[in-house]
Symmetry: C2
C-alpha cells in the first residue's frame, strides 16, 4: 500500500530522542504529524494507542505508519503501526437503508473499493416502514432491540466481508455511515419518538464522529465512525451523502437531485446555493403497486413495451425468469406504454374498448391482466387494478408537483435544470423516457438524466477516501435551505394539472406524443 | 448553587421547537451554549448524554443546567440536568504525590472547597521511591498492579469523601490531577520505563483530558479528568500546578519557586519568561536524616533552638508528644542552631570541645545526641551522626548551587528575586531563618519567603475553579525553558563554596552571624 496526499495514512519518520531533544514520544509524533499535515489543529491520540506508542516507536526504529481521521477541527490518530507492518488498513462505507443495508470495504491507503455486501435490514421483522419501527421503539426495550438488530447485523456482515478479503474486523479503522434520519437515530440508539410528532424534531442534526465501542461495533478499538448529518426529520444523511456523491454543490449550473421513494426527497442547487424539500409521493412508486408490486428481484418484470398496433405486451424480467410480479420501474413503463398504445386515457383510466380481453372484474373492481396465468410463475393472473393505477397517477402527480414547486421557489423552471440526478437503487431502474411520458419527471433531454445508483453508499465512500469530504459535508449541510412544502391552493391546482398524462399543459412535455 | 461567569455550570433556557424552528435537540442546545460562552469553538456532547437529552428537555420545559469542561479548543458538556434539579455538581482536585495522595472536593458551581482527604500512596508497599516502582513496573503485570493500586485507592477515597458530604461519586463531573511525571504515567497506565533511562523520555508531555472510564475512575460516567502536563521526566505536572498556584507567570517582578525534596525542582520567571531545572539535592532534606529522620507526624521534632550560653536544647514536637524522631525541617533548624551556638564549625563538623557530653561514639562513628534516652518516646538516644550531617551539608550546598546556577543563567543574582515561593508540604515547615543560616536558601528579606503549602493541590483546584486556567496551564507549559544542569568545573567550584556554613562568600549572607 502506498500513501498519497489525499490518504488518511501517513508514513512518519521521527528523529530518535536525545538528551538535547527530549520531547515525549507522543508530542514527538504529534509535532511531525502537524508538519506533514501542515496544520495547527489539535491532533488527538487515544490513551490506548499512547500506551502502545513507546514500544512501537522503539521496535520500528521510529519509522511508523499512522492512520488518521478528522473530527471537526481536530485530527484523530486511529492507528499506529510499524512502517514495515503488512497488515492492511481498511475503511467501511455503510448505506443504512430502511430496507437494505449495504457495506463497501475500502483500502484506506489508496481509496480503492475491495469488496461489497448487503443484507436486508433486520428491523424489517419489526415493521417494513420506519413508522412501525418508531412506534415499536416506544415499547419496553423496543429501542434497544431495534438498535441491537442493526448493530449485530452490521457486526456479522463486517466479519463476513472482512473474511472474504482475508482480513480481520480489527483491520477496519474508519467507517462512514449514511442513512435517513430515523435509521440514523436507531443506529445510534437515540429515541426517534419526536421525529414523527409535530414539530418533528430529531435528537441530533450532526451526530459527528464516534468511537466504535460507543456504538457496539466490533472493529479496531481505536477506529472512528462518521455518521452523516441530517437537515431534519425528513431529510437525512443519505441525501447529504447523495449531494456529495453527485457533486451538486460544486457545479456552476443548477441541477436537481431526486431520491424517488415513498418520500420524494429533492434538492436543487449549484455551487452557490442548495434548496431541499421532502414530500410524500405515495407508496405507489417504490415497491411497485399493491398486491402485485414488489421489490426488484429475479423474475420481477422491470421493463415493459406494448406494440401500439397489436397491443402485444413485451415483458422483460430480471434474470429472464418466468414472471412473478412487477416492480416500480416496470409499473412506470406499463403506464407509459398503456398510454402510448391508447389502452389508457389522459386521466389514467383504462379504456375498455381498447384493452379488450385484458380487462377483468375481480371483486367488482376493474383489473388489467399484465401477465396471464399461463405465463406467470405461480400460475395465476398477475393483474393491476384501476385503483392501483389511480394511486400511481396521484404519486407521479405529487412527484412532479414537488419538483415544480421547489424549482419555482428559486424563480426557475424545470427546463432550466442542467442535470437531473436520480438517487437510489430504484431510481437507477426507472426508464427516464417512460417517466417523462407519464409526466412524473420533466421533459428534459434524455442525456440530462443521470442515475446515481446507491448514492448514499457513494457519498459514504467519498467521506472515507477524500480527506476534504468531511469538511465538505459540513458545508453542504450548512448551505442547504429546507423548504417546507406548503400544500396551499396553488400547490393543489398544480397537483390537479399534473394528474393527467403527461399533464394538462402540453407545452411542458413537447417530446411526448399526445393522444 | 448559583452560576457565576467563571463557573463551568450554565443554566440554559431553550426556546421550544416549532414547525418554523425545527433544529434538533442537540444543536438547539449547542447554539445557545455558543451564545452564552461567546465562542465559535466546537461543543461536544457525549452520545450517552445526547440519548438522555430529549427527555430532560421536555421534562424540564427546556430549562436545563449544563456542566461544561474544556478540552483544548473544544468545549465538552459533561452534565445535563433539569434546571430545578437539586443534586450537587462537584469537582475533585487531586495531588498525586509519590508518598501521599490528597483529594479536595469542590462545589463546581461556586468553586468553594467542600472537604479534603488524603491517603498514603498505596504504591509505597512496592517501594518508597519512584525508581523502585519503575523497576517493578517492568515485571510481569507490574505496571497494571501499580496502576490498580492508585486507581482503586482513589476510588475508595472518592467514595469516602463524597459520603462525608452526603454526595455520590456520580455527583463528581470533573477532576484535575497533578503529579510528577512518573506518578502521572503510573496513574495513566503508561510505561514509565524510558523516564529513567537516558535520554529520559516520557511517553507523553501533555496527557490532556480523559473520560473517567478510560482511567477506571468511578465517578459520573460523563465526567472528564484533566491531567497536568509535564516538561520532561524530571519536571512534572505537580510543578506546573505549583507555578499556576503561585502565579509566578503573572508577576512582572522575577520570582523563584522551589520544590524542596529529594529532587530540587526550581523555576525562575515572571510574566515574560520562565526557566526551570531539576537536580538531585540528596535524600537528606525530605524525610530527614537517615535512621532518626522521618516524615513529619505526631511526636516528630520539627523545631529546635539551642541556647547559645547554656547549649540547652529546646525542642518542639508535632502535637507536643514525647519525641520519637526528627523531620527535615527539624534537621535544618538543628544544623542552624548547632552552628550559631558554636557546636558546629563552618565546615559542618561537630566541635567536640563545645558539644561535650552530647557527643557519643557509636560503631566507631561520631554521633550527636539530640534527645537523650530518658526523654525519648522509645527510651533510646535519638542521635544524628557526623556522616548524616555531612550528607545534609552536601544537600544544602547542592540546593544553593542549583538556585545560584539557574538565576545566573538568566543574568541575575539571587538577591534580585522579588519572592521565594516554597512549594510542597515539606517546604511549608522549613523555618526560612534557619535555611538562610545554613546557606541552603539565599539571604533574602524574610518576608520574601512564601510557603505555598500543597501547591500541587492548589493548582489542581484552580484548574477546576477558574475556567481560564486550562488555557493558562498550556501557556505556562509552553513558556518554560528547561535548563539542563551542566555539572561542569564552574558548578563544582560553586558547589564547593556552598559546602560551608553558610558559604565561603560572606557577602552573600549579610544577615547571618559569622563565627
Amino acid at each position: 500500500m502506498s500513501d498519497s496526499d489525499a490518504s488518511w495514512i501517513k508514513t512518519v519518520s521521527l528523529s530518535p530522542p536525545s538528551l538535547q531533544d527530549n520531547t515525549a514520544d507522543t508530542e514527538r509524533l504529534i509535532s511531525v504529524l502537524k508538519a506533514i499535515l501542515q496544520t495547527d489543529a489539535a491532533i488527538h491520540i487515544d490513551l490506548d494507542l499512547i500506551k502502545k506508542l513507546p514500544d512501537i516507536l522503539r521496535q520500528s526504529d521510529f519509522n511508523i505508519r499512522c492512520t488518521l481521521f478528522k473530527d471537526g477541527y481536530q485530527w484523530l490518530v486511529v492507528g499506529i503501526q510499524s512502517a514495515d507492518e503488512i497488515r492492511p488498513v481498511a475503511g467501511l462505507a455503510v448505506d443504512l437503508g430502511t430496507s437494505r443495508i449495504v457495506l463497501r470495504l475500502l483500502d484506506l491507503a489508496g481509496g480503492q473499493p475491495l469488496a461489497e455486501s448487503g443484507f436486508d435490514n433486520p428491523q424489517l421483522t419489526i415493521g417494513p416502514d420506519i413508522l412501525a419501527r418508531i412506534h415499536f421503539s416506544e415499547s419496553s426495550d423496543g429501542l434497544k432491540k431495534l438498535n441491537d438488530f442493526i448493530v449485530s447485523g452490521l457486526n456479522q456482515a463486517i466479519r463476513d466481508l472482512c473474511q472474504s478479503q482475508k482480513m480481520e474486523p480489527q483491520d477496519v479503522y474508519a467507517l462512514a455511515v449514511a442513512g435517513n434520519t430515523a435509521m440514523t437515530h436507531l443506529f445510534l440508539g437515540l429515541n426517534p419518538r419526536w421525529i414523527i410528532r409535530e414539530p418533528y424534531i430529531p435528537v441530533v442534526n450532526r451526530p459527528g464522529i464516534f468511537k466504535t465501542a460507543e456504538l457496539g461495533l466490533q472493529v479496531n478499538s481505536a477506529a472512528r465512525v462518521f455518521v452523516f448529518p441530517n437537515i431534519g426529520s425528513y431529510f437525512g444523511g443519505d441525501l447529504v451523502a447523495g449531494i456529495l456523491y453527485a457533486q451538486l454543490h460544486r457545479a456552476s449550473d443548477t441541477a436537481i437531485l431526486v431520491d424517488v421513494g415513498t418520500n420524494a426527497e429533492v434538492v436543487v442547487g449549484n455551487d452557490n446555493w442548495l434548496i431541499a424539500c421532502a414530500g410524500a409521493a405515495g407508496p405507489a412508486l417504490e415497491g411497485g403497486v399493491t398486491k402485485m408490486g414488489m421489490m426488484a428481484g429475479p423474475g420481477v418484470v422491470d421493463k415493459i413495451s406494448i406494440d401500439p398496433q397489436t397491443r402485444q405486451f413485451n415483458l422483460h424480467t430480471i434474470e429472464d425468469r418466468t414472471p412473478r410480479g412487477i416492480c416500480g420501474s416496470g409499473v412506470i413503463d406499463l403506464v407509459a406504454q398503456l398510454y402510448l398504445s391508447g389502452m389508457m386515457d389522459i386521466r389514467g383510466k383504462l379504456v375498455p374498448a381498447v384493452c379488450g380481453k385484458r380487462l377483468k372484474k375481480i371483486d367488482g373492481l376493474m383489473h388489467l391482466v399484465v401477465i396471464p396465468a399461463d405465463q406467470s410463475a405461480d400460475g395465476t393472473d398477475l393483474t393491476v387494478s384501476q385503483a392501483d393505477l389511480d394511486s400511481l397517477i396521484r404519486s407521479k402527480a405529487a412527484m412532479y408537483t414537488i419538483l415544480e414547486t421547489i424549482t419555482m421557489s428559486v424563480g426557475m423552471e424545470l427546463k432550466d435544470l442542467s442535470a437531473f440526478y436520480v438517487a437510489g437503487t430504484f431510481g437507477s431502474f426507472i426508464d427516464p423516457r417512460s417517466a417523462i411520458t407519464i409526466g412524473m419527471m420533466p421533459d428534459l433531454p434524455l442525456e440530462s438524466y443521470k442515475p446515481l445508483g446507491n448514492s448514499s453508499l457513494g457519498g459514504a465512500t467519498l467521506a472515507l477516501t477524500a480527506a476534504e469530504s468531511l469538511a465538505e459535508i459540513d458545508r453542504i449541510r450548512d448551505r442547504i435551505t429546507y423548504l417546507e412544502l406548503n400544500v396551499n391552493q396553488d400547490f393543489m391546482n398544480r397537483f390537479s394539472a399534473a394528474k393527467f398524462i403527461p399533464h394538462t399543459d402540453k407545452s411542458l412535455f413537447p417530446s411526448v406524443e399526445f393522444r
